[in-house]
Structure formats: C-alpha cells, structure tokens
C-alpha cells in the first residue's frame, strides 16, 4: 500500500518547484482568468438583476441604477400568467421519449457496426454521422412536405387537465404533433449518438460478443444484457448531452409545430415574449426560468456532459 501511495506524492513533489519559479506569471494568469470569468458571468447576472426588479422602478430610474426593491414577483408572474408548468410538460413529453429512443436506436447501430464486421458497416456509420452534420435547414423544405403528407393513426389521447398527448396524432399527420417532433429529434440525434457510442464500443473487445454467441445468446440479448451495461458511462454521458441538445432546440419546434399550445418551452418563450410580455424584467425572468432545467442538469452532471462532448471529438 505504502509504495502505491508514495508514487503520486513523489510526482507531485517533483512538480512543485515549477509553478513557484513563474509566480508573477501565475498571478497574471489568475488576474486574466478572473477578469474573463467576470465578463462571462456578467450578462447572466445582469439578467438576474433585471428579473429581480419591479418594472415600475426601472421605468423611473432606468436599468442602470441601484435597487430599492428586489423580489421574485416577475418570476411568479411569468410562471402563472404564461402557464409555464404546462410548457415544461410539453418539453418533457418531447425530450424524455426522444432521448430514450435515440439511445436505443443509436446503441443498436453502434453495436452492430462495431461488434460484427460486414461489408457496409463503415458506410452505414458514415451515413449516420454525415446526416447529423447537415444543417437542418438543408432538409427542412421536403421534410415539411413529408410531415404534411404522412398519415398517422389517431387512437385518442392521454389527457391530463389542459394537456393532451395524442396517440399518435390528433390531426392524422406528423405535422404539428409531439410524435413528429420526437421523431425528427430521434433521427437527427441518432447520427451523433451512433458516432459517439460506436467510438466507445470500439474499445470493447469483440471476444465478449463472440463468447456470448457461443453460449447461445442471440444478438438482441447480447446487445441488451452484455454490451449496454458495459456502455453505461457512455450512455450516461450521451443522455445528459442529448437532454440538453433536445431541450435547447428551437428550430424544429418552430417549424414543425403550429399549435402554440404544443410548443416546448424554448420556442414558446420566444412567442410569449413577443406577444404577451413586453417588459424586459418579465422577459428576463421568463428566460431564466426556461434556463433552469439545463443549468441544473449541467451542475449535477457536468462530468457526464463534458465526457459526452469529448467522446465525440477526441477519438474521431
């Protein structure tokens, strides 16, 4: 035990003289970084400051003034008047199925392309990756048409108060439906997730799959009970990343959903801000409320988040 513990200490000891020699540079570095951090946080802090102040006060004194009152009224007003919980729910019913389906499909493709060698596995991987790299606007025109002309069955809906999740479409189409949005997210993000997961699965030796095959397991079983558990870190990283990507989407929801009531919070916010809420204090509060879920995810799961991004880049 003692030798194991001693090794890193010895390393550290060898390194300590180095920073000491460049002490002034160190101070300059910290000064620069602290200044940059202040610059980075400022827009966000300013938004929080504006959101905490009543509009009446900022009209009289301007935004650049010392506060007399600070309270959460703008937040509560926006929360209730915009019916914000409803739009969070919209986001939730889009994001959760989309993340799960993306991970399932992408891990299947990555599994089949990395654990078995067949003629077209590279081509298939490339198709997925390239598809994800395309700007979405390149495909939006025909996609919009496809969404308007694909018949989807209607089997009623799941209703929770004002919220109604159609099974699977309440207008017989893909357009203006939760499932339409879920579908495009799944298809688009599967490309990225496949890329990342296949990078990860490449490091798993094929012998695991081979011996499971010998033991009589079929490929579906191997994918589910052998490979997926081994990929747990990558799946966690991808889930975090996909949650943020899909939560933050603005474009698809803007173009493929027409009914304002079905919009997820991000695109609803831009609507609400233009139509109902005109004062900056309220809009700031609304924007911050919409930012809370990704910020929580980031703070709680920062490690996964960074891991996901780096898995996608460094091994490519």
């Amino acid at each position: 035990m003692s030798t194991v513990a001693a090794a890193p200490r010895a390393l550290r000891n060898r390194r300590t003289p180095r920073p000491r020699r460049i002490r002034p540079a160190r101070i300059a570095l910290h000064a620069f970084l602290i200044a940059t951090v202040a610059l980075w946080l400022f827009p966000l802090l300013w938004a929080i400051y504006a959101a905490l102040r009543p509009v009446s006060e900022t009209i009289i004194n301007g935004y650049l003034s010392w506060p007399k009152t600070l309270n959460f009224n703008n937040f509560t007003t926006f929360w209730t008047e915009a019916d914000l919980p409803y739009f969070y729910l919209n986001t939730l019913v889009i994001v959760v199925p989309a993340v799960i389906l993306t991970l399932l499909l992408a891990s299947m493709v990555a599994f089949c392309c990395t654990q078995f060698s067949w003629k077209f596995n590279l081509v298939v991987l490339m198709l997925f990756i390239a598809g994800n790299l395309l700007p979405p606007q390149v495909i939006i025109v025909p996609l919009y048409w496809v969404y308007l002309h694909t018949p989807i069955a209607s089997f009623g809906s799941i209703d929770i108060g004002r919220f109604s999740f159609a099974l699977f479409s309440d207008n017989g189409l893909l357009y203006d439906q939760y499932i339409g949005i879920i579908l495009i997210h799944v298809v688009f993000q599967t490309g990225f997730a496949t890329f990342v997961l296949s990078n990860y699965m490449k490091t798993i030796t094929k012998e695991i799959t081979e011996s499971a095959l010998v033991d009589g397991a079929n490929v579906l079983r191997i994918w589910w009970s052998v490979i997926l558990p081994l990929c747990r870190p990558a799946l966690a990283a991808m889930a975090t990343l996909l949650f943020t990507f899909i939560y933050n989407d603005f474009f698809w929801a803007l173009l493929l959903l027409k009914t304002g009531d079905k919009r997820p919070i991000t695109s609803a916010l831009s609507n609400l801000a233009g139509e109902f809420f005109v004062n900056n204090n309220l809009i700031a509060a609304g924007a911050l409320l919409a930012a809370i879920p990704p910020i929580i995810v980031f703070i709680a799961l920062q490690k996964h988040f960074v891991a996901g991004l780096t898995l996608g880049s460094t091994k490519g």
Partner: protein, 324 residues
Amino acid sequence: MANPATSAVPARASKAPEAGAVVATRRRRRYSLLTRRDKVLIILMVGIPLTLDILLIWGPTLASVLLSFTDWQGIGTVTAQNIVGLKNYKTLFTGYAFFWPAVEHNLIWLAFLAFIATPLGMLLAVLLDRELRGKRIYQSVFFLPVVLPLVVVGFIWELQYAPSDGFINNAFGLVKSGKIIDWLGNPSINIYSALIATSWRHIGYIMVLYLAGLKSVDPSLREAAKVDGATEVQTFFNVVLPVMAPINVIIVVVTAIEALRAFDLAYIFNHGTNGLELLSILITNNSISEASLIGFGSAIAVVLLVISLVPIIVFLSRAMRAQA
C-alpha cells in the same frame, strides 16, 4: 465451449452444408457464429434506424436538390411542366437582393468564429490545461453558456443591447448624451452584436473540446521541450499544436458547421432581416412562410448543402482514417 476461437470451428463445420455456405466460408470466422435469426436481427437493428435516417434526412436532402430545378409551390404533384432547369439558381445569383448579403453574413459568421471565437476558446483551454487553483470553477463558468438554450442566450443579450434600456448604452453614457447605438437594429453592426452573443457560447464549447485534446498529449513531450529550453509559447506552437492535429481538424469542422447552422439567434433578434440575413433563414422564409416558393427555397438549401459538404467530407475522411 468456453473458448470462442476453438468452438467457432465446429460451429462453421456444422453449418457448411446449409444454404449460403459459399458466402459464409468466404467471410471471417466469427460470422459463422451467427444463426440465421441473428442475421435477421442485425438487419433489423441496423435497418430500422437506417430506414428512418434515409427517409427523413437523406431522402429530403436529395429531394431538395431535385426540387431546386423546379418551380413547384408545394401543391399537387411535381410534373414535367414544373421543371425549370437552372432558373432558380439564375434568379438566386442575379435577381434576389438578399442572397449575396446572406452569403456574406455567413462568411462573416464563419470568419468571426474561426479567427476570433475559436482561437479564444483554444487559448482558454491552453491556459486552463495546468495545475491551477480554482480551475474547475473557471471551466464551469466558461462552459455555462453552452448549456443554455439559444433562445435564452438571445434574451440575455437583448438586455445588454437594447437601445435605451440596455446595459451597454447606459453604461457608456450613450443614452444620456443622446448618441444611442442600436446594436441589434443597425444593419451594419447587428451581425457583430449577434456574433458576440454567439461567441459567448462558442468559446466555452471549443474550450472543452480542446481541453480534452490537450489532456491526451503525452506529458513527456512537453517535459522534453522544457529540458531543451523551449518557452511555454514555443512549446505550444512547435510541440503541442502539431501533435494535436487530429483535434485541430475537429475544431475547424465544428466551427464551420456551427457557422453554417447559425439560425436561432438571428431569428430571435429580428427574424433574420435587416442585416442579419443568413442562408438558413432565407430557406425557411422562402419556402415555409406564405411565399411557399419551394423550388426557390430548395435552391438556397442546395447552396448551403454544397458549402456544408466541405467540412462534412473533411470530418468523414478523418473519421474513416480513424476507423481503418
């Protein structure tokens, strides 16, 4: 049965008389482990996602290309009469007032990200790639904007840029002196205002990607350079940067793709008009709004596609090399 290498042989032998044996023997040994059911499962596991990918991404991409040669307006079917050849492109290049400004804005966007934001992200990564007190906090702060929805980023920066209520004009006394600058309304500067807001996000993104790359550099290289008397700057440019070639390519590709995809902020600030025209926005404005000039919108999409293929192909060829 425990050793797959030995057990594979009898498995293949037992299957040899079956149909498809000719193919099977030509392939690698592990293939023979798969039963027909397994093969069907693999085809389904790849086939279903692939079909969706082709139907909803590659099909529409191809359709965009084909539709760009028509004057179709989205109603009824496309007939031979709709084919107009290169007319849409001719109109686009010569008769459409917003096209060249949009190309210019996309190029400015790309140049700004490539020459200012991305190098700043790299600089932050290099500065943070050392033992440093508070490193985690610095990293988290720089990365925070990356997780924010662009809609939120847009609103946050509108609070900075607003003409009479915004922070910038007030802080510099421009409101008092009556010299208000309309950061988002003035068509000659609003693209730079949007770019600063974008960079707020882009820099942190590049920083994280680059930090990961830097961590993978063999520390002994740097030690060696140090022993040879190289300064930190020399070490970076002559030792670290060349070793980082693969990640540098990724960073360039990511930057290019981000620049071509730019849409949200311009849309949120002013629906991509009056100085913020971008190719991505022209496509949607022409084909999905009331105008529904699908053929024309598709021609713009094809221009964007052709430009995007450059970074995509660079990325794929790198990925291919890594796979091989």
